[in-house]
């Protein structure tokens, strides 16, 4: 089954890419392991940045400078400029296809302030910004008749490497979750848009349980490069018991952070890495930390932050209108990902990547709130247009049968794993290890311990495996495959974190507090050769 452009992942990035590839004349197919409206994008609450100046004076230059500052020296300025300059058009486009943005009294798109921003710049739709954008994109895809296939789990990318030239892509293989069969989909160009890998922190993450880094792991196996994998953003405010996100807009609107004594201890609107560290330090001191939005009033909370109120009640039995909310900082966004060039293409010809799974070098060491929804519109368009262009002139042969056979054999083997060790326990265990040792504050000893734990799990993998050996809708098998991917990525995160002997943005080393520009103002690169992981630094 062949298409010009195959898009893996149906979140915001995947769907924007699909719309743009389709409008560039390509035959497009989108495949997701869930359904098209169920991805992580729907959880984005705060907003999408664009210097529209609707709420107060703002400029593209200020947006660029805020983004660069937060990135701590390792964002690509050209990429950041492209992102910020394209932002007003990106929001105008979303508005033109029907996204229900909140409005100001004078009929403009409403904007609010998020951390690290010098002006109210985030365009929002209550605290449902991501949801409304994602669903409108899905409706647009329906309007264009774009094929979207659900519940197919990415196994491997199919690459070809003729002796005389560079490797090129030819499609991908999937486990059809419903039938249990391996399927292959051939395509001239493939766009990976599979989201981040925050679930390596297991329960210490705000993310959907689907953010398991399947795309990054498949890219690594296929010979593509990952970069800046050690940079993981911790969101300052998640509910203490459940890691459920409380949007930054709660602080943007004037919410305070308090310790058990009821004292404020930090600038609530500093970039996320700083706020998360301040919270972590209080917790280390034995303090509880709370978000206080009581003074914003019931009417405001119900209008602007309805989800927050609902979730705090459900998970903490706390009504934020009357009570302070117990919080902690947990893994939220992965800055690192699949290395791409200025056309969103990887080092494999015809293989593109976009969204949280990719690294377009716009977030550097710490992403600003409101820039990730923006990124997926701006670079989703770029990836879609370029993949269509590439597919148009593609004249090589594609063959996926061999890979299907290898994957079928692999799945058969996995189902025969001995099951002496439960992988769910190991998943939770490594999540705890990562939260404690590879979290907000890291040091050489803790990182080394974590790496040993990862190696041990890699060795024990054949003693794990799914308990469920049936074919139809085997989620136990899918979760095991996700676990295998996550462990693969855990290694790359750790190796990069160990190599980066400095503190920079979200990568904070308590044993090396200085930012060392001379040695480390560079991107960490991770790649695999013959099954062995290598790392390097690159400009």
């Amino acid at each position: 089954m062949r298409s010009d452009v195959l898009i893996i992942g149906a979140g915001g990035a995947g769907l924007v890419a699909a719309i743009n590839a389709h409008e560039s004349g390509a035959k497009v197919r989108v495949i997701t392991k869930e359904y098209p409206t169920r991805s992580q994008t729907c959880m984005a609450q705060g907003g999408i940045n664009a210097a529209l100046g609707n709420a107060s004076d703002d400029s593209v230059e200020a947006h660029v400078q805020n983004t660069l500052k937060s990135a701590h020296g390792i964002a690509n300025e050209d990429a950041v400029r492209h992102l910020c300059e394209s932002a007003p058009d990106a929001v105008e486009w979303l508005d033109s296809i029907g996204v229900c943005f909140s409005r100001t009294k004078d009929a403009k798109i409403a904007q609010r302030t998020l951390g690290g921003a010098s002006a109210p710049r985030a365009c929002y739709a209550k605290d449902y910004t991501g949801l409304k954008i994602l669903h409108t994109l899905y409706d647009r895809c329906n309007a264009l008749g774009i094929e979207m296939l659900s519940e197919r789990y990415l196994l491997n990318l199919v690459t070809h490497k003729p002796t005389s030239s560079d490797a090129y892509i030819g499609g991908a293989t999937f486990l059809n979750i419903r039938s249990g069969e391996v399927e292959s989909y051939e395509a001239a160009a493939v766009i990976v848009a599979t989201g981040g890998y925050s679930r390596i922190y297991d329960k210490h993450s705000t993310n959907s349980t689907s953010s398991t880094g399947d795309g990054q792991a498949a890219c690594l196996r296929a010979g593509a490069r990952l970069s800046d994998m050690e940079f993981v953003q911790f969101h300052p405010t998640a509910l203490k018991g459940s890691s459920i996100l409380i949007s930054e807009s709660a602080r943007g609107a004037g919410g305070y952070l308090l310790n058990s004594k009821g004292e404020r201890f930090t600038n609530e609107l500093a970039p996320r890495d700083e706020v998360a560290r301040a919270i972590n330090e209080e917790i280390q001191k034995g303090e509880g930390v709370f978000l206080d939005i009581r003074h914003l009033g019931e009417e405001f909370i119900d209008r602007e932050l309805p989800q927050e109120r609902k979730l705090a009640k459900l998970y903490e039995n706390i009504d934020p209108v009357y009570e302070i909310i117990p919080i902690k900082s947990v893994a939220h966004y992965t800055m690192g990902g699949i290395e791409v060039d200025k056309n969103s293409q990887t080092n494999i010809e015809g293989l593109f990547a976009v969204g949280e799974c990719a690294n377009h070098r716009v977030h550097g060491a710490n992403r600003l709130g409101g820039n990730s929804l923006l990124e997926l519109v701006v670079f989703g368009k770029q990836a879609g247009v370029n993949a269509a262009k590439y597919a148009k002139i593609f004249d090589k042969t594609i063959e996926t049968k061999e890979q299907v056979k290898r994957d079928e054999e692999f799945l058969k083997r996995v189902k025969e794993f001995s099951n002496e060790i439960g992988f769910y326990e190991k998943r939770e265990f490594i999540g705890d290890v990562f939260y404690n040792n590879v979290g907000i504050s890291r040091d050489a000893k803790g990182l080394k311990e974590a790496l040993d734990a990862v190696y041990k799990i890699q060795k024990e993998m054949p003693m794990m495996g799914p308990k469920d050996r049936s074919k139809i809708y085997n989620t136990n098998l899918v979760e095991f495959l996700e676990f295998v991917n996550m462990i693969e990525l855990c290694e790359s995160v750790l190796v990069c974190a160990i190599e980066r002997k400095e503190s920079r943005g979200a990568h904070y080393r308590s044993d090396m507090l200085e930012q060392n520009d001379e040695k480390y103002k560079a991107h960490t690169i991770a790649y695999e050769e013959n099954g062995t992981l290598f790392t390097d630094f690159a400009e």
Binding site: Y35, C42, D95, K467, Y473, T475
Partner: protein, 244 residues
């Protein structure tokens, strides 16, 4: 605490079985209980989930006959958990939602043309703010009784989506949308209001369908069942022969 779950292992095994599980969690959501069962007791239990925060729409199922999101429902002793209705059962608590989703396209639930620079006031925006909160969990689709008699019914969530676009100032061809929802659409609803009662987002598809009916009438359409029962308003006469 004990709960019972309707198990069905898929086409390979035909029989269904209600299995009871005992868990020691208290004040827990159903999703937390299902995760506890799956990771500690029975890895073969299948269900869908995602965000844990009632926004991705993945974990809709039925408890004691009522549609809920597993992540938003606090479990009580003796609860009986079943999959959603009106969609083919794949396994355990998982149904195939493809056909349900396709009604969005059949109902043409999108903005007809791209329109830049339309200024929406706060009042304009409020008109369909609630409808655009829909998470496509399919609870309304599962509870809808119309599917027992007409499996081509466009259904509550797709019609709410149509209202979302029709009521939007940016939509330049609302008439084409009205035309698309006359057959198997607004007139097939029984206005029973079940969809409203189960919606986790507080949306009332029934109300949206009523609003769509008013717009349809204003566009010259009428209730076909009304037309048929009274014989000769341009539909078919009592004996089924065309009348002019």
């Amino acid at each position: 605490m004990k709960i019972k779950i309707a198990r069905y292992m898929g086409k390979e095994v035909t029989q269904k079985e209600d299995i009871e599980y005992e868990v020691s969690l208290s004040d827990a959501t159903l999703l937390e209980v299902l995760n506890e069962i799956k990771t500690k007791q029975d890895a073969t239990l299948s269900y869908s989930s995602g965000c844990r925060s009632s926004i991705c729409g993945s974990c809709s199922m039925r408890v004691n006959g009522r549609e809920v999101l597993a992540c938003a429902y606090k479990v009580k002793d003796g609860d009986f958990v079943e999959p959603m209705k009106n969609s083919p059962l794949i396994r355990d608590l998982v149904v195939d939602m493809d056909r349900a989703y396709e009604f969005n396209a059949k109902a043409k639930a999108w903005q007809s043309s791209i329109k830049k620079g339309v200024r929406l006031s706060q009042e304009n925006q409020m008109l369909n703010e609630l409808q655009s909160d829909c998470i496509l969990c399919g609870s309304c689709y599962s509870v809808c009784p119309v599917y027992a008699v007409n499996d081509e019914f466009l259904g509550p969530f797709a019609l709410t989506r149509v209202w979302k676009y029709i009521s939007d100032k940016r939509e330049s061809e609302p008439q084409s949308k009205i035309d698309a929802i006359q057959t198997n659409g607004v007139w097939d609803c029984t206005l029973c209001n079940e969809c409203t009662l189960v919606c986790p987002q507080g949306i009332s598809s029934k109300t949206d369908i009523e609003k769509l009916r008013i717009r349809s009438v204003a566009s010259g359409y009428s209730d076909p069942s009304f037309a048929t029962s009274f014989g000769s308003f341009g539909g078919a006469s009592f004996d089924g022969s065309p009348s002019f």
